[in-house]
């Protein structure tokens, strides 16, 4: 199985909790014989490289250096994510099984790749704008929410880390409960459940 993980943070770039979580996820996947690529942002450590634990990281930078906010920054970065993921896909003779997109940042790329190349994706929800913005509803927050909604709508499955988050995603975005898989990171069955979920989604991939 070949998986591409999208995450806007990955060590050594640590913004919050997500970076180290994605790193441990990637390392465990490699141990379970999954070919794992991580596409992430880094300002100067750019390009593809092999990490010691066997994951392949692809660090990209923003082709547009100046921005007026995180939204425009994210939205231009997505084309670089698409470029990198497409390169992995074509190098792998179109055998990419799925994309696991962490949080909303690279959802636009995941959606395009799904529509264009038939690669299904999972949306792994770390947090939602509703909670981050404390109910603020400016056009800025609503734009991010619209991307989160798009992700949950287009994803084959969503992975959340708690039952509370599952209920919140259902409440805010009206996602059917059976589309959401709860996988607590510290649980003993963590990796096993992640792999099961990946397999159920990868089943939909059509190799061309």
């Amino acid at each position: 199985m070949q998986v591409i993980i999208f995450s806007w943070e990955f060590p050594p770039r640590i913004v919050g909790e997500l970076a180290n979580y994605v790193k441990s996820l990637a390392v465990q996947l490699v141990k379970s014989n999954v070919e794992t690529h991580v596409v992430t942002y880094h300002d100067y450590l750019t390009g593809p490289r092999e990490e010691p634990e066997g994951t392949k990281t692809h660090r990209i930078t923003n082709p547009v250096r100046t921005h007026i906010g995180v939204l425009t920054w994210v939205l231009t970065l997505n084309q670089e994510v698409e470029r990198t993921a497409a390169n992995i896909y074509y190098d792998a003779k179109k055998q990419t099984d799925l994309i696991d997109a962490h949080d909303w940042h690279f959802i636009p790329a995941a959606v395009t790749l799904k529509k264009a190349l038939n690669i299904p994706f999972i949306y792994s929800v770390e947090s939602l704008e509703e909670h981050r913005s404390h109910g603020a509803n400016s056009p800025f927050n609503m734009a991010i929410k619209s991307i989160e909604w798009l992700g949950l709508y287009e994803a084959k499955k969503a992975i959340v880390k708690s039952e509370w988050m599952r209920d919140e995603a259902t409440r805010i975005y009206k996602v059917p409960t059976d589309k959401i898989k709860v996988i607590p990171p510290k649980s003993t069955a963590w990796m096993k459940t992640v792999l099961q979920t990946y397999k159920s989604v990868a089943g939909g991939a059509i190799s061309k």
């Binding site: 231009t76 497409a86 959606v111 395009t112 529509k115």
Partner: protein
């Protein structure tokens, strides 16, 4: 069915399709397409696609939606797809553009896939569709072409804020990712080279076109009757057409009004809207010339065409002008033109032969040019006859679409040798 047989079938179907379809398929991205008209890109893409379709190019246009316009339609053999472009709330215009690109890319990706990937080139018009073009280029591994109609650094006369720099860098990114960059004048070619540091062989000059027939179509309109709606029979009509914004030099035009009025009895008709409308109409009032100047706002195509036909002179006083389509339209409508000697206008107009060129940003010079044309009827007639001939020779859409097709073919030839092919 076993796999071999399936592959054979698919292969045969593929070959059969190749024979019957047009020799080339292009997908154009544009943020405006009729009936959505904001600036010059909309008519440009419309005429270009239409004449390309006549020259055996299969054209798909993916564009923004417009109230009342269908999501999908076939217009003169051009397949037009309109996407939901106001789906996402956005805090400002540039963010709206990037979000619109996200939606356009999603729809266009599905469209290309539904066509079995049978698109040969992507063609993006301006930074407003940079993301969709660049993303799909890499995802489908097809060549991307860009037409740069205008630049942020030119529109704003420099880069003054992060907002403007972001747009400037997005434009640079588009030209970097494009296989070839098309500009509509020699001036724009050198401007774009300077602005983004591009190699010379990446740039192609293909002029903008004008549809000369549209001015002969409505011949049955009674022009002298139409004219009376705007001016007294003894008044000459001086026409300005354009957005009422700084770079179009509309303030220069208004400041030339009293200088021309000293010598000629004329009515100044200003067509278009923009943020300078209010301050300028106040200025006209304070000059005591409100009865000599008419602000019409935005008018429909027919009224515009008739105005251009009955104008005694059309004035294009722009400070920055990548091409200057209004000058070309006036020439096609057989109206003499007075233009500022800048940008694309310098190339369209030959001084004393097809029009009058004046110093940019100089009301005295502009007034001199307008007065010269209005007072010398023989001179004006000579200019407009020469200009009309020149338009038919050089700015014909059929010719332009053939030049564009030749660029596609050259790019595809290079592409066929690349590892993407």
């Amino acid at each position: 069915m076993d796999e071999n047989r399936l592959t054979n079938l698919q292969e045969r179907r593929r070959r059969r399709n190749l024979q019957v379809t047009q020799e080339l398929t292009v997908m154009m991205f544009t943020w405006e397409f009729p009936p959505r008209i904001i600036g010059g890109i909309s008519p440009h893409v419309y005429h270009l696609s239409k004449s390309m379709a006549k020259n055996d190019v299969k054209v798909y246009v993916v564009t923004c939606d417009f109230p009342g316009a269908p999501q999908h339609e076939v217009l003169d053999e051009v397949e037009v797809f309109r996407i939901d472009s106001y789906k996402n709330p956005a805090p400002n215009f540039a963010t709206w553009v990037y979000l619109m690109n996200m939606n356009m890319q999603k729809e266009a990706a599905a469209l290309v896939k539904s066509l079995g990937g049978k698109v040969d080139v992507f063609h993006a018009h301006d930074w407003l569709v940079a993301n969709v073009g660049i993303g799909l280029k890499h995802v489908f591994r097809k060549p991307l072409l860009a037409t740069i109609h205008s630049t942020e650094i030119g529109r704003r006369n420099g880069i003054h804020s992060d907002y403007e720099r972001m747009i400037h860098e997005t434009e640079a990114w588009l030209t970097y990712e494009a296989w070839k960059v098309i500009c509509c004048s020699d001036y724009m070619v050198s401007h774009v080279r300077w602005a983004f540091g591009l190699p010379e062989d990446k740039l192609v000059m293909i002029p903008n076109g004008v549809n000369a027939q549209q001015y002969t179509k409505n011949k049955n309109t009674n022009l002298s009757q139409f004219r009376r709606k705007f001016a007294l029979p003894e008044e000459k009509i001086v026409l300005f057409v354009g957005r009422l914004v700084y770079e179009k030099g509309i303030h220069v035009f208004v400041n030339a009004v009293p200088k021309v009025s000293e010598k000629v009895n004329a009515k100044f008709v200003i067509v278009g809207n923009g943020y300078m409308k209010e301050p300028l109409s106040k200025l006209v009032k304070s000059m005591g010339l409100a009865h000599k100047v008419t602000f019409t706002g935005f008018v429909d195509d027919e009224t515009l065409g008739n105005l251009q036909r009955c104008a005694d002179v059309c004035v294009v006083p722009s400070l920055f002008e990548p091409f200057g389509i209004v000058a070309l339209e006036a020439m096609a409508a057989k109206s003499p033109v007075v233009v500022s000697d800048t940008g694309g206008l310098s190339e369209i107009v030959e001084h004393d032969v097809t029009g009058v060129k004046v110093y940019p940003d100089n009301p005295d010079s502009l007034a001199w040019g307008i007065t010269k044309v209005l007072l010398d009827e023989n001179y004006a007639n000579r200019l407009k006859n020469n200009a009309h001939k020149r338009v038919q020779q050089n700015y014909d859409w059929d010719k332009i679409s053939q030049q564009t097709k030749a660029v596609y073919k050259a790019v595809l030839k290079e592409y066929s040798k690349s590892f993407w092919a």
